[in-house]
Every structure is written in structure tokens, then in C-alpha cells.
């Protein structure tokens, strides 16, 4: 496998892109349906939760720098148990991660922009792009993220500024009407879509960053940028569209872009704005696929991951066509199952490994070995 080294700046940008990912499309609707006009508070609470989770994840990684999550679980759980856990983790992540996100972009295009095109056409084309990116490797992905990030920021900031004149502050009132419990629920939905899948970054980054002792700082910065972008999108959907319209629409941020109207002259620029989420969704799917591919190559002791990219990408494109039979199933899955699943793999799993690390340190015989390797 070719040696990969990316800089800390690229780590921050990739993390921000990964975090924004599909959340920018699907998050505002679900959160507005739970917390109504307080969804923006829920996103701030969610960011608080998210940074606690990030601390747990990266605390584990900092104990074993240069070792990624899968090697680490093999080391802590023993070789065969570790391999089985890793296999289950990767298979479920594959079914829950890249395939549904690829389905999301296809669904978005067929619902909003190209209604007469079959969803397969969009999924296969976008999947081909992802396969190309993953095949070329992390370094290429990081550099293209660096190139595309200013465009993303330009689109995002211009959309926010152009929407300022349509803000109605009454939409956010009365504050805290629904009580605390819906806010917690919405915050957990925020965390489960935006922050908990960051466990994938523990597979991607260790061993491929040039200053590995500062990786966690770069990840925190990236998550802060991404979290602020999501907060602004959610706040804008609440303030401009109102909680009911936000909750009723499948893609509120697209409706938001439709609302841009400066003097009846600058309007209907939503297709330009849609480029924004093509960029972020591309990096989300690519990082998922990259992590899964290097994960599988590690489980089977394959040194070069590149030959696996084409078949895995093919499987991904095929599976993502039938991963959600219909839209209500998707809503049900995201609401009921995706949350518990990501809490398990994104929070409980690293927490368990961290506890195991401390236990191993305390036990006298094995302590020398593990503390040496740490």
C-alpha cells in the first residue's frame, strides 16, 4: 500500500466535510418534527454531547497513536474475537453508512430535480465518482477536499446572507414551549447523524497524518466548523420556513434555497446551491467507503487495499438501489434504529475498549506488554 501522509489542515477540512455530509439535507426536517421551534437549541445541546463523544473516541486513539480502531480492537480483544467484532462492525457500517447515503443523493435528485430519471442512473454515476476517489487514495481525497472547501463555504455563506432578509423572528417564538424532553430527543438525533459516525475517522486517520500527536486537535476544529454550519442551516430553516414547513418537507435546506429572492431578480438559484451538498455528500460516502475498504483489507491481511475498491464499490452501488424500499421505511429506520446503532458503535464500543485498556494496564502480567506497545 502506498505511504499516505496528509496535513493537519487537510484533516480539519475532511472532518468538516464528513460531518456536514448528508446531515445538511436530512437533519433539519427530523429535528424540527421533534423539537418544533427549539430545534436550534437542540443543535447546540447536540454539539455539546458531540464533543463529549469525540473526547471519548480520541482519548482511545491517543492511547495508541498510529494504530487504527480495527488493529486496536484486535489488540485489546484478542486476535479472533477482535476480527469477528471488526467484521460485524464493518458489515453493519457498510449497510448503514455509504449505501443509504448514496441512496439519499439519488432520492434527492429524483424527488426534487430530475423526476423522470430512474434512481439507478444517478446512483451508478455518483458511485463511479466515489470509486474513482477512493481508488486514488486518501491523499487525493484530502487535496480535493482542500480545493472544494472554499467553494462550499462560498455557496453556504452566500445562501445564508441572501436569506437574511427573509428571516421572521416570530418563527422561533415561544422559546422552550415544548419542554426539555423533545430537545434532548432532537439533540440525540443530531448527534447520531452528525457526530457519532465520526468513529469512522478513527479508522482513517491514525497512521496517515504527518503530525499524528495533534490529529485530535485538527478533528475538533473540523467538527466545530461542521457543527456551526449545521447549526446555521437548522436555525435558518426554523427562522425562514417556520417549524411546521421544515418538519413537513423532506429536504428543508433545498426549500430554503428556493426561498432566496432579492428584488424579484435574483431568484430560483436552488440548483446552484444544490452543488453544496453534492460536495459534502461525496466526501461522506468516500470516507465511509475508504474506511470500509481498508478495514476489510486489514481483516484479511491484504496489504494493498486498492484492488478491493472496485468490487466493494460495485456492491455499494447495487445495494444502495434497494437499501430503502420506500421513503417511510427510511424515516422509520433513521428515527428508530440508526440512533441506537450509532450509539452502540460510536460511543459504547470505544468506551468499552477504553475500559479494557485501563483494565489491562492494571493487571500485572500483561501490563508490561501493553504499556510497552502503547
Amino acid at each position: 500500500m502506498p505511504e499516505v501522509k496528509i496535513s493537519l489542515r487537510q484533516v480539519s477540512i475532511l472532518t468538516a466535510m464528513y460531518l456536514i455530509g448528508s446531515a445538511i439535507l436530512i437533519l433539519p426536517s427530523g429535528m424540527a418534527s421533534m423539537a418544533k421551534q427549539d430545534a436550534w437549541i437542540a443543535s447546540l445541546v447536540g454539539m455539546g454531547f458531540g464533543f463529549i463523544i469525540l473526547t471519548v473516541q480520541w482519548q482511545l486513539s491517543r492511547k495508541y497513536p498510529e494504530t487504527n480502531l480495527l488493529c486496536l480492537s484486535e489488540k485489546l480483544l484478542g486476535k479472533w474475537v477482535g476480527k469477528i467484532v471488526n467484521l460485524l462492525f464493518l458489515v453493519t457500517l457498510f449497510l448503514g453508512g455509504p449505501a443509504p447515503v448514496l441512496h439519499d443523493i439519488g432520492l434527492f435528485m429524483t424527488v426534487q430535480m430530475l423526476p423522470e430519471t430512474p434512481i439507478q442512473a444517478i446512483i451508478y454515476l455518483f458511485g463511479l465518482l466515489v470509486i474513482l476517489g477512493v481508488r486514488l487514495g486518501l491523499e487525493v481525497l484530502a487535496r480535493s477536499a482542500e480545493l472544494l472547501f472554499p467553494w462550499f463555504l462560498l455557496l453556504f455563506l452566500s445562501m445564508s446572507i441572501l436569506l437574511l432578509s427573509t428571516i421572521k423572528w416570530e418563527n422561533a417564538q415561544p422559546i422552550l414551549e415544548t419542554g426539555v424532553s423533545p430537545i434532548i430527543q432532537a439533540a440525540i438525533s443530531f448527534v447520531s447523524i452528525a457526530f457519532l459516525p465520526n468513529i469512522v475517522l478513527l479508522i482513517v486517520y491514525p497512521g496517515s497524518v504527518n503530525r499524528s500527536e495533534d490529529t485530535h486537535k485538527a478533528v475538533y476544529i473540523g467538527c466545530l466548523i461542521g457543527g456551526l454550519v449545521l447549526f446555521m442551516i437548522i436555525a435558518l430553516s426554523i427562522l425562514v420556513l417556520g417549524p411546521e414547513v421544515t418538519a413537513r418537507n423532506q429536504y428543508p435546506s433545498y426549500i430554503l434555497a428556493k426561498n432566496i429572492n432579492i428584488g424579484n431578480f435574483l431568484q430560483r438559484i436552488e440548483a446552484v446551491m444544490a452543488v453544496m451538498w453534492f460536495i459534502t455528500l461525496f466526501f461522506r460516502i468516500s470516507l465511509y467507503t475508504y474506511a470500509i475498504t481498508i478495514g476489510f483489507s486489514q481483516i484479511f491481511n491484504i496489504k494493498n487495499y486498492q484492488p478491493l475498491v472496485l468490487p466493494i464499490g460495485w456492491i455499494m452501488a447495487m445495494v444502495s438501489v434497494f437499501i430503502y424500499p420506500n421513503v417511510p421505511y427510511e424515516a422509520h429506520f433513521n428515527k428508530k434504529i440508526w440512533g441506537p446503532y450509532t450509539i452502540t458503535v460510536g460511543f459504547l464500543f470505544p468506551l468499552f475498549l477504553l475500559c479494557l485498556h485501563y483494565l489491562r494496564k492494571k493487571r500485572p502480567q500483561k501490563s508490561k506488554k501493553s504499556s510497552n506497545s502503547a
Binding site: Q185, I188, S189, K303, P311, F322, I337, G339, P340
Partner: protein, 79 residues
């Protein structure tokens, strides 16, 4: 019939893209991994062509995480 031909063409093209380089560099483990995932991909594609309604694999994740989901919604952490 057309879709089977298409699957065969895609499989042939992907093998043609990858196999010569792996054989030249004597990466035999890579060849085995590539073949295994390739067979899986061909199997899924053929199944998708043959069956009109293919059940989603997410039912497995749903079945495993249903109790945990019920617990969380009883506590009130998810809706």
C-alpha cells in the same frame, strides 16, 4: 437477458482493469480478496435482476437493535 450480458461485461472490465497488475506484482492474497468480493457483487447483481422485490438487508440491523431501540424510547431518549 440484456442485464445479464451487462453484468458479465462489467465483471470482465473490472477484472481486466485489476488482474494483470496484481499478477505482475505477485499479490496473491489480493487476488483472492478481489475474487471473493467480485463473486459477491455478481451474486447481488444477478439476484437483483432475477427478483423484482428484493428484501432490504437493513432488516438484520433492525432485528438486532430493536430491543435497544425500545429501551431508549421507553426511557424517552429517542422518539
Amino acid at each position: 437477458m440484456l442485464s445479464y450480458t451487462f453484468i458479465a461485461i462489467v465483471a470482465a472490465v473490472l477484472t481486466w482493469l485489476e488482474l494483470p497488475r496484481m499478477r505482475r506484482e505477485k499479490e496473491y492474497r489480493e487476488i483472492w480478496g478481489f475474487a471473493a468480493f467480485m463473486l459477491l457483487a455478481i451474486g447481488i447483481s444477478v439476484a437483483q435482476t432475477m427478483l423484482k422485490e428484493i428484501p432490504t438487508p437493513l432488516v438484520f440491523i433492525t432485528a438486532i437493535f430493536k430491543p435497544f431501540s425500545d429501551l431508549l424510547s421507553a426511557v424517552g431518549l429517542i422518539q
